[in-house]
Amino acid sequence: MAVKIPDIDQWIDAMAPVVGLNISDERRPGVKANLKTAAKMAALLDKVAIKDETEPAPVYRA
């Protein structure tokens, strides 16, 4: 599987300063839970093959 559930504390410690956020001890468990959910979602999406020619829909038109 290409997307693995990573060590989420490491993820937070690396990324929080990159985006200029301080994560308090109070918020950390909730942020971790949400990142874990996001990683599960990404893993699910990663299983779907998409053709190179499939372009994104940045301004979506139904």
Partner: protein
Amino acid sequence: MKSTTGVGDIARAVTSMEVSAHSVVMAALGRIEVNNQRLGAFTDVLSERAIARATTIDAEIHEGKRFPLAGVPFAAKNLFDIAGLPTRAGSKINREREPARADAALIRRLEAAGAICVGATNMGEYAYDFTGENLTDGPAHNPHDLNHMTGGSSSGSASAVAGGLVPLSLGSDTNGSIRVPASFCGLFGLKPTFGRLSRLGTFPFVADLDHLGPLARSVDDLALSYDAMQGFDEDDPAQSRRPLEAVTGRLERGSAGLRIAIADGYFVGEADVREMMEVVGKALGVSRRVTIPDVAAARAAAFLITMSQAATLHLERLRTREADFDPAVSERLIAGAMLPAAWVDKAQRFRRAYRDEVMKLFQHVDVILAPSTPMRAPKIGQKTAMFGGVEMPVRPNLGIFTQPISFIGLPTVAIPIAMEGQRLPLGIQAIAAPWREDFALRVARQLEKTGTASAPVARGFADE
């Protein structure tokens, strides 16, 4: 005018001068005064403005002018700009904004059609919510059982209509925020095609997914308000240039001639959700099933795009004002700010591929039916519930059935299904191809005509 009187009946009575718009508005304001403390539906009541507007409407009707929504009181979720109020979008922080200089486009259109905005309604913080709870303003309460959630994030808009305070309200729906509260509060709701209605003058959540639409207690009432809100607005960059495609008067054919199927697989839900789908299938004579492909991946993609775009929108506030957010919201937003771009880009590319696959289904079917929510309204404060036999957090999971549909902008009507012996409502989605709101509304009308769908004012709030 009774709490149970709908949009069409009010407009007819005011137009024929059987009652005045002034008396209609006074009755609505009176009901808000009496019941709002119990319901937590309104955060702002515009008494002075509404009375002035009603007086003007009455004078114009006396002069012979005609309005399709004459004297109809309505409410708007507090992410809609209302001139003179800071657009709080359910948040603590936004109350410090400059007051809006003008009303949102849809409020202006409804008022141009004779309707009267009586107030702004409670909502989940920054619309990132399916529960209807709000840390600053308190929860909106479900009029069918005050201990239960309204659903969110258009919580107060649903509570106000199900509690009979007004016959019509405006909500927004990014991942299900009209359809989830419509299901929990037993209302009809319309999430039109992405790009159909102007979003000008509303506080955003996820630009790629935000929709606006009405909540009401009958299909005709939805149709009347929807028609009044249609039309191109060049100031909204996401709006499509579509002609006005009126639906009022075009729904009486019901489901005759429409190819209808029920979504299977992913859209299972708890036992009474399955029972509801049986009831609906029988009422429409539909046994056909259809499988929406990759629907779990669609939900995942919508989830990631939402986290990421909402985080970008709020990043500066998260840096400087984090303590002023509801932690349930800020923790999701902070996480959203730290997602790899590859995940979000993949989600956007998948969106195009998924859209193409779902469009293939619409070559063979006109309307797909699915439940709106996996369960009836949980209790206020309830944190977890059983989803498919697994205990999961309530907040992010109430939208599992709505999220994969709005993800590709499909027009959807939320339909409340009447089931014997159930106090708490439950509803379905009628989903159509882009720009075919009329098909979804015709299915809703069919179910309404046969009594399978109904949206009564909740017991205890209905005038005898």
